[in-house]
Symmetry: D2
């Protein structure tokens, strides 16, 4: 597949959905030149959303993080995280009461609204927890893995309640060479021991794309063919975008490196509509 220029392609669309890691930033910080690309997108009047499988930060915190990295002017509403879907689920299905969680207090605060109270699994009284109405896998930090993963499993063996995973990724990059297990990976370990399937939020699931799609249609009038999805990962960004019916563009500035792109596309059967080196030109 021939490579294209992102600039030449994006001009044909009324909206663009961007993955965060590997597209806008990497382990070293903001990808150099991204500020100019965002300016170009704005100058062209193209609607923008950032779609990220991340439940560790609120929208406000995401905007702040980009500002700290040097990308100013993103608006809160332009950030869509998988944590927002988890929060929406609780609002619709649980409404009031307590939810237990694995993650940081910060990640819990974000979904702890409107009558819901979060309680870390370390504070749950396993023998007497009938007041807990749901369990949420939120973040890979904020708890003792050995103690609290086992505690989670024994709590879930005793209680039959909705279990949701606020970020379905198995792992995430932390440097050029290294990764860390994400809460989605930890949730799979628990699924395997419990022999259950939890409710997962995040790309490639259609719900993430639907959320962004509904959002831009609150004020505008966008069809699916008006939108370009841009990401660095075949099995989340591209698969999800394809399935939702968007045109998809794979960038080689992140997870999928140039020399492996073709082999990966062939072996997975996940085919982007376009490939570009980055969103920088």
């Amino acid at each position: 597949m021939d490579k294209v220029s992102f600039f030449s392609i994006v001009k044909n669309y009324k909206a663009v959905f961007l993955d965060s890691y590997g597209v806008l930033k990497n382990h070293q910080g903001l990808i150099e030149g991204v500020v100019d690309t965002i300016k170009l997108i704005r100058d062209e009047g193209i609607e923008l959303r950032v779609l990220t499988n991340d439940a560790s930060r609120s929208q406000v915190q995401q905007v702040q993080m980009f500002e700290d990295l040097g990308l100013r002017g993103l608006e809160e509403k332009e950030i869509i995280t998988s944590g927002m879907l988890a929060r929406q689920f609780l609002e619709l299905k649980i409404k009031t009461g307590k939810f237990a969680y694995l993650g940081t207090e910060n990640s819990a605060n974000y979904i702890m609204k409107n009558g819901l109270t979060g309680i870390p699994i370390s504070d749950v009284d396993i023998e007497n927890s009938s007041d807990v109405a749901a369990f949420v896998f939120l973040d890979d930090e904020g708890f003792d893995w050995h103690r609290d993963i086992n505690r989670t499993i024994n709590f879930l063996r005793r209680n039959n309640l909705p279990i949701i995973v606020a970020n379905s990724d198995k792992y995430y990059p932390i440097s050029r060479d290294d990764v860390a297990v994400a809460i989605g990976g930890i949730s799979r370990l628990c699924e395997s021991v419990l022999n259950q399937k939890f409710i997962r939020f995040g790309k490639p699931d259609s719900q993430m794309f639907m959320f962004a799609y509904d959002d831009i249609n609150e004020t505008g009038n966008f069809g699916k063919s008006d939108i370009l999805m841009v990401g660095d990962t075949l099995h989340t960004d591209i698969l999800g975008g394809n399935k939702f019916g968007l045109k998809t563009l794979l960038v080689l500035s992140g997870n999928t490196r140039a020399k492996h792109a073709e082999v990966k596309i062939n072996s997975t059967g996940i085919i982007p509509d376009y490939i570009a080196d980055s969103i920088l030109e």
Copy 2:
């Protein structure tokens, strides 16, 4: 979980989504009394959609089938099939050209619109098929399993193109005791040999619910909390409805029998908001 009366629950909702098999009909035909229930739903002014993992019949043919069974007055727009999602995918992502398929000619005709031509895998020249732009798993009938499943695998080994599954169910009931392998099951066999994951449409995927949700909001104004999803199968109807944020009601008139319901709910962790014997009272 205590059982409820469907009638008493449905009155609290502005719309109801019904699974077809196990809710409206079973292997013997229409479930007796369903005609009165549909009348009640209409009399209450509740919006109705039937959501079915079935790509073998068009909406028109589904309406006709229900009429032949004795349920008159369903409208074309009230039927939502997984085949419609496959068709939408082709319209958005492929647009023109040929798609190869496993299934009946009838099932292919339904998605063969707007410049797209279907060609059964038995008619594809495997050595010279660069004009084929997509492959669709449509139906478990209409082909020679031994010859054409192998043919499909060898075609897909040679060609890298979007592969979609128009009905993700592994199997479907054909009598009180018996089932038949569905095209979703055949697609999994091919995935296993090819070591790929195809794009699947149908419950429990959010897209099916989104399609219905967007559809009723074309003319009305429905929030997710206004809608009740009713089905007989935990891992399609109830899981999908829960994940989309709808209230869910499990009926015991189909796949999930009364004596197994509690064990299944406990072992899968898929928890309906309500359980009722059927939609008949």
Copy 3:
């Protein structure tokens, strides 16, 4: 990993286990030169066994097949098939009565000894089959896939009995480019519908290697470090040989082609002790 000469390596071992397809023969027939290699092995006094995931032919028929291809002098006892393990299982666990099967009559005859009678699934009276004591997946030929796969599933839904798979391979090569679904692939489709795991025989399972190991130790005195396993497929021959504790040699004359070998070894983590182009030099 540097390539070695098979001749130079094999001389260090007292016994050699050879895979059949991709090592001795390919889709065109016997690999040219193999007759000389077998002669060399015999001249060196190295014990030889052929280990093949194949339940369609008896040992006698395998010897005949090699003779027809031009390789004379293999002895019956030198052939070890996964079908022999299925037969041994029935002898030990079932002993007498009927077993139902998917496969050819020939494949059934081979395991139909000592008081056991085979009955093709097409002849089983599904409603009245209490005399059937086991089910065997034998071969991908000899039955109507559509009718008999569905029939098998409905039979197994009604009856709780030992189910064995006489060849665990998902598919097998039939020409340079083409494959065919093997009975191991069909068994997985049935497992997926029934949500069960059957008992599978064949490489990479240790039992196949144990059978060969015990066999050569009937008359000789071989430790595991005296044996070299040679095969063309990482996840059957090499994984199985490694796990059993044998030294392993991957040949590039079959399934694993030279240009993909390194990538496959890295991505699977299945590491042969040696790599050679073939067993021809």
Copy 4:
């Protein structure tokens, strides 16, 4: 399936293989009466082996543990652990050099013989570790889960070497109601992130049974039909015993409780030859 008396069955066999947890002991200690049963087995002249998926203790330490619980007279050679298979693998395939591991120092000491040196993953210099020849998942204790599981994954991403799992169990019981994730569960999390399959040792794999079988045949003359396998877990003890061709007896004194036994047997298709309450009568 009718229940039998263990005493009446075992007398028909020349050897008996016993699982440890759920058969001989439980979370409270030795199962009361087991001492008499072992005496009966010895008085009858029946050969005995204990087969346990445990790599945390050596044979000597296992014997000592049983003595501390009140069961005297087990001999070292009568204990067969999955750790012994891991050790055998290293002896046959690696021979000399370093292996990195997750587990306690005690578990590493046991397999650290004959020129092999173990190094905990926390002490490995990830950037410079070419002297490490294998990786072993040994035990769920002895390391910091958060730091060292991530460290293991990043080490294995950089190095292509044999990876073995010395205990394939996902979890183990620690009290009447509670379980703990075993090293087999942690290894699966790593497999899922790395997209690889490691080499696993332990029941239900045939190798564990083969080890015991070969061992009793060093001094005796046992066929497979002379041996009874006794265990409390269908998918390890019974599946493994069945597949190896032994007669199997399920006891209801551990993992599989009386009220669930029939449902579990039906839903898994793993069928013991006999069921007994315990080995106490």
